[in-house]
Amino acid sequence: MDAVLLSRIQFGLTAGFHYIFPVLSIGLGMFLVIMEGMYLRTKDKVYHSMTRFWVKIFGLIFALGVATGIVLEFEFGTNWATYSRFVGDVFGSALAAEGIFSFFLESGFLAVLLFGWNKVSPRMHFISTVLVALGAHFSAIWIVVANSWQQTPAGYHIVQRGLTSRAEIVDFWRVVFSPSFIDRITHTFLGAWQAGAFFVLSVSAFYLLKNKHREFARNSMKIAVVIALFASIMQLVTGHLSADTIAETQPAKLAAFEAHFPSEAPAGLYLFGWVDEENQKTTGLQIPGLLSLLVHWDSSEPVTGLNTFAEEDRPPVNLVFQSYHIMVGIGMLLILLSLIGVLGWYNGMLFKNRFILKVFVVSVILPQIANQMGWFSAEVGRQPWIVYGLLRTSEASSKSVDAGQVITSLVLFGIIYLLLFILFIYLLDGKIKAGPEDDTGGGRQRA
């Protein structure tokens, strides 16, 4: 294997592992704001105990998010030096803004959240919660700005410097609001809120099954199902808008999503299928003309197919097809589950029916998979480009780093992340089993 492929695997692994945590901190962040806000308004102790419990979980998730996040920033330089030289002028501003506007906010006030219960007033604590949640959202904004620019570059020009060229900024706001940005950031936020909501649902459903912390669990679930339903339905809208933009700006990616090869034909929408890339044949269940309908509002209008692109300009079709369809399938399932949740709240079944509760316990994994698959199809669908249309992935890696070095680091990352994941689950499990404290102000001393 060559250094480029190994670096791609390493980046995919480290980015995918990292992405477990920020979706939860974004989702839980919003949840914490609602809960602590309810506490300040109603003075009901149950909201206080909820906030305290979820803050502890948030702290653990955040710590892992920071530790795994530094890795990504370093990897742009360590593994993708040529890419960094090419995009630094454009991409760097977003990254710097992320550090200055979001990370300091988030990490600073997290300290107040975790350790400041007896040091600041309840109002100040709530303000800190709001700031941490804002920080979490801001950091997503800037990183999606940078990533969207890679998908749909705008507001730049190419400048020759000696033997090499690079992209330089022309218009900052056009870089920030590149054509795909708004669709992608809303899609990302909603995905994170889904992850947060289903996480809360899962833990709460577990308590109800065990007949523990009933009031805590019911109140947590009520907030979570509302967020889940809102986010899951809105996800349809942002997903559709995203696909529309992709049809316009990255037609090869959209064609790969649906494994649509012929260029001058209306396109259908597969519910599921398997792509034989060599023979350009897809076997599966298809609704004819639906993709054309969704893109053009006309089921007979042709959609640009993969055959329009030279073979070396096409992404790996089956991988993208599968990951995209898994994401969409889970998205639909989450709408169904959220509806069951809200209806179940209405008729009381949500808190009683053991089958529904069991489903919610395991459903925590679904938004996680959907988020991972969404990014996977977005990033692999962009291939063979690292910056769409401007720089190929194969040319973007570090010239001074050879395959041997990347193998070494990749293996080490694999081992360390596996251990980290096991420890994370172990500690999370411990915190969940310990449960929320009875709210008497002081709390249990940690030995």
């Binding site: 530094i70 370093f74 330089g77 960094s84 710097a96 990370f103 990490s107 350790f115 900024i169 070095q405």
Partner: protein, 342 residues
């Protein structure tokens, strides 16, 4: 050298400011970690960790932001150094991950073995991270083999030479001193007394390292003295630095721990200022082919980007300083173990 007051120089100073912020703040974190194993009881170790408990991850953000600013302002330098230091950077990442994880996980189980394991992880990774940061600085001063595309042409072992290792050890010694003073400021009773005793020892260790590094620099890396030779007024920086270090034992003797800590912060900042002044306007020296060096002009982003980022920094940095101060104000005073402590 003449200082040109242009965008590139402003960004040289700003990136330096962020890294100095990192060295001052995470410096004492790493220092506390380096001293951690010298404490014996579980309670003392918990107090050690809790002195940095609420602030360590905020401190690490300075590194992330410094790295981000380097990427944005000097992408060539970021690309060359991070890819050139490949294994060193990966190891630094593992060091920082282990540290973070050790802090988080140690308190979660009362078993002796569990805690011992994380104590060792915490301490070793702290020392190791400081050492790697110093080795990187040493290489930047010494020079790295670069080709005409500014690509590093050596390997991991090219980077491990005696001068770089010496700078690495000096960095660890500096962080230990800084950490001991910080921890003394945040503790009371027996542990406080113990830490005050260590301050003197760490200062002696640091001064020996510092003197050796200075001699080695003057003999083997004489270009690192050119700027001060040309501008004698800048000699004030090393003088102030020595005064700041000498002031530490005096303040400790009078029981003024906070002032001792400020002195130590000043010493770290002045050392980095000295490094910056000597490097200016270069950022990575190429050795042997000096013509391939990267400086604040050939390694920089366009002036358009530097201007945009200056606006971002002018808007953002006052906020950063405001909330960093707020957090430190909220968590001022001696550490007391509570329910939410590590």
């Amino acid at each position: 050298m003449n200082f040109a007051f242009d965008l590139n120089s402003i960004w040289f100073i700003l990136v330096g400011f962020l890294f100095a912020g990192y060295a001052i703040l995470d410096g004492f974190d790493l220092g506390v970690g380096a001293l951690h194993l010298f404490t014996k009881t579980d309670e003392q170790r918990r107090i050690m960790i809790n002195t940095i408990g609420p602030v360590w991850d905020g401190n690490e953000v300075w590194l992330i932001t410094g790295g981000g600013a380097l990427f944005a302002a000097f992408p060539e330098v970021y690309a060359t150094s991070f890819s050139g230091f490949y294994m060193a950077m990966i190891l630094l990442l593992f060091g920082l991950i282990f540290r973070a994880v050790a802090i988080e996980f140690r308190s979660r189980q009362p078993m002796k073995r569990w805690r011992q394991f994380w104590d060792i992880s915490f301490s070793v990774s702290s020392i190791f991270s400081g050492l790697l940061i110093g080795v990187a600085l040493g290489n930047i001063a010494w020079g790295m083999p670069l080709n005409s595309n500014h690509e590093f042409t050596g390997n991991f072992w090219t980077l491990i030479h005696p001068y770089a290792v010496l700078v690495g050890i000096t960095t660890v010694a500096l962080f230990m001193t800084h950490g001991a003073i910080y921890a003394a400021m945040k503790t009371e009773g027996e542990l406080n007394k113990k830490l005050k005793g260590w301050i003197n020892r760490t200062i002696i260790f640091f001064v020996i390292c510092y003197a050796t590094t200075t001699m080695a620099t003057l003999i083997y890396v004489p270009h690192m003295a050119d700027n001060i030779k040309d501008n004698p007024v800048l000699f004030i920086i090393p003088v102030l630095n020595m005064l700041a270090i000498a002031n530490i034992p005096r303040e400790i003797h009078h029981g003024r721990e906070f002032r001792a800590f400020l002195s130590s912060c000043a010493a770290v900042a002045l050392l980095l200022a000295l490094f910056g002044i000597e490097m200016y306007p270069d950022l990575i020296l190429s050795n042997p082919a000096a013509a391939n060096s990267l400086n604040i002009y050939n390694g920089a982003s366009s002036s358009k980007t530097l201007t945009i980022m200056l606006i971002i920094a002018v808007l953002g940095m006052p906020l950063v300083i405001a909330y960093t101060s707020t957090i430190y104000w909220i968590f001022r005073g001696k550490v007391k173990l509570e329910a939410t402590s590590y």
